[in-house]
Symmetry: D2
Amino acid sequence: MGSGIRVGVLGSAGKVGQAIVAAIEAADDLTFTVGVDKGESLQAFVDSDTAVVVDFTHPSAVMDNLEFLIGNGIHAVVGTTGFTEERLDQVRTWLSDNPAVGVLIAPNFAIGAVLSMRFAAQAARFYESVEVIELHHPHKADAPSGTAYRTAKLIGEARTEAGLGPVPDATTDELDGARGGVVDGVHVHAVRLAGLVAHQEVILGTEGETLTIRHDSLDRTSFAPGVLLGVREIGERPGLTVGLEQLMDL
Amino acid sequence: MGSGIRVGVLGSAGKVGQAIVAAIEAADDLTFTVGVDKGESLQAFVDSDTAVVVDFTHPSAVMDNLEFLIGNGIHAVVGTTGFTEERLDQVRTWLSDNPAVGVLIAPNFAIGAVLSMRFAAQAARFYESVEVIELHHPHKADAPSGTAYRTAKLIGEARTEAGLGPVPDATTDELDGARGGVVDGVHVHAVRLAGLVAHQEVILGTEGETLTIRHDSLDRTSFAPGVLLGVREIGERPGLTVGLEQLMDL
Amino acid sequence: MGSGIRVGVLGSAGKVGQAIVAAIEAADDLTFTVGVDKGESLQAFVDSDTAVVVDFTHPSAVMDNLEFLIGNGIHAVVGTTGFTEERLDQVRTWLSDNPAVGVLIAPNFAIGAVLSMRFAAQAARFYESVEVIELHHPHKADAPSGTAYRTAKLIGEARTEAGLGPVPDATTDELDGARGGVVDGVHVHAVRLAGLVAHQEVILGTEGETLTIRHDSLDRTSFAPGVLLGVREIGERPGLTVGLEQLMDL
Amino acid sequence: MGSGIRVGVLGSAGKVGQAIVAAIEAADDLTFTVGVDKGESLQAFVDSDTAVVVDFTHPSAVMDNLEFLIGNGIHAVVGTTGFTEERLDQVRTWLSDNPAVGVLIAPNFAIGAVLSMRFAAQAARFYESVEVIELHHPHKADAPSGTAYRTAKLIGEARTEAGLGPVPDATTDELDGARGGVVDGVHVHAVRLAGLVAHQEVILGTEGETLTIRHDSLDRTSFAPGVLLGVREIGERPGLTVGLEQLMDL
């Protein structure tokens, strides 16, 4: 038996799953136990004495997975999407019956994206103006990205809390769309360009100075360090944790 | 009498005029002769043996100014706006009667803006994708800026000439405005932010790489080097020259 | 008598002092009382019932100023440089005799610079690599800037605390100076360029992603919002506060 | 037999070679004929009626390859390094005996890198100041990169031709290395950071404005579009062409 935390992976045959398995195997303090894919039994995690399971599967499967894992005392790190407030409440109920188990559910495991959002929200109350520019490859279907949308919402909330009014904007003559989309009072621009991967820039400004927080994801494995951070920490955090930033002591 | 080219200024009492007078006085190879403002006689340029006059005045005044200057054999460097094709033809007619005189009319004297547009148009045919982001202080009334609009048109023309089709864009789910305004098939985004002055970025992309051309104007005097370039060159370029780039041997 | 906090300024005839007076006068919740310059009596602050004094003077004057202000129960916001540990201890001693008085001493009042340093230090422990690039006008005598130096030190400390080793760097063949200067293990690059004012970029990287935190100071008044923040808060913070970030609830 | 230009590849089994074969096969107007690797006979190109051969092999092999190809009337597009002036002269001699053949030898096939160098050199004479920042992954052995070195040399030559003196720089107090390495009077900074691939920024500045030309290579296939451009054009350019920019009508 190898040393370190024993980690299993749900959806291990998919592209994301494979990258996570590789990252676990490359980490000295973690041991990969077993991968389970669609149609296979979750019992393999129990049999292999797995302590933490990573779930990047599908909204239709994730609730059954969590019920089983929590019931069997296994911690979970979840990147699967589709968590409504009702679903989170259901997870909390299961956890209240198994108070030693920790579950992390996060919409974004890229550490840089999480830090960007956090820093943008912290800085927002000190600046009159703020806009978000996200830039992605041209195969993306939605504009703006989910991350840009969430970033703008967090900024909007921070501005409201700080008592800031609307951003200054004297535009009277606008080509339709030039000033971007507006999310909670924050203008958001989406660029689509061959050669790009996934990038986001938050620009904040006040008299005489600007502050820019930029995140560049240059390949699809940028979620791996965040997943490993979750795996290492979740055993010490019983109950439900929503958002990777909760584990980052910011 | 000082040495070098003898230069006069129309609208010398205004903010722009004052900056131009200061730039002329600071240049070793130029001599400032006289400034003429609204209501004063242009005859002062003749009396002071002025060789070149700079005109940053008003569309309502500039044609009378040019008629006088050309008729008196004085070269002109013109930053005043409002030149239609009809007005340019009128200037050409006056110049055909005074073939030794040179007139430069340019919408933009910021050398960096001129180079940006030129480089963007040259690069455009080698890239699948291109977008323009312009960023200005929040007191600006139009979005996008005139420079961004012209830049996008030049890029659109270069793409058409090169036989490129539309830029790739899989967006199916867009928050209204997020993808920017569209000028000749080129997406243009306008950011308005306290703390900014005038900035523009053209991003071009193809498989695996991007090229970015960015111009930052950090104060309002960035037109001065371009005006001086025009003053120094226009005596050697009889006839009408439209656009500073014509004098830059690019 | 106007409303709001009554604020006086030491060194009010200087360039920085004038900008601070203007910012105080423009703020609805502050009242400017009196300016005192070299050779004038500090008693004017007492006579005018001043609550807070801003001191951007000189290392040779600031200690006498502080002794007087603290002794007269007046709060101080200090941007003057040259504070050694001994000087700070002296200020603490004076304050222990006047426990209701608050003194803020900060090396940098540009909010964006303060946020940049803070965010860089917070992010540092999550990234394998980090470098600092600062860019300034070519009239600057020191390279790197004091802010870049402090930023690199904060990053170096955060890396040490997190148990990170040296940054990865396979360079074996270097043109002298190409890899920059090194401060506490962090490479720092200084660019000097006409047209720039004061700019700094911290770039952090790990497998597949980078995070960039950039601060642009576009004019010399960018310290004003930070000074006003200090003026508004220092009355509620008795004792010595070092660094604007202490007032920012980050 | 497929349609379009018939193209063969030397070194087709290597990583670069494979990417080139894939790019040829994906292009409608090109037909891949045959790949030849170390130890195999070049005669395969003649037998397959190949019109153009791409050579990304090794300095020890490339001269024999070129002698054979030129002798057999086959055009060549060469990315192999190590061409001295003597080697280029030898190629010219062979070509003088086979005047219909075209050979393109280029140190860099990334179109963005070529355009960056060209634009930087064109812009250099209009700006007082210029510096180069290149940023690469931390596994790179040389600093600065070959491209940054060449870019700085081209800029230095353009400045000399334009009669510009040294860049303004008031630095008197420098941490060793902070101001970068110096190539022909141009300061060059090399950043090494996990998460980066290959990036370069040329920043030019004059009073009140800056111009930035940035190239980002996000994966190793960014040479492919340039190779295809060479393949398509070289048949029309008999003789030796050095540098991809010669084919780009800039």
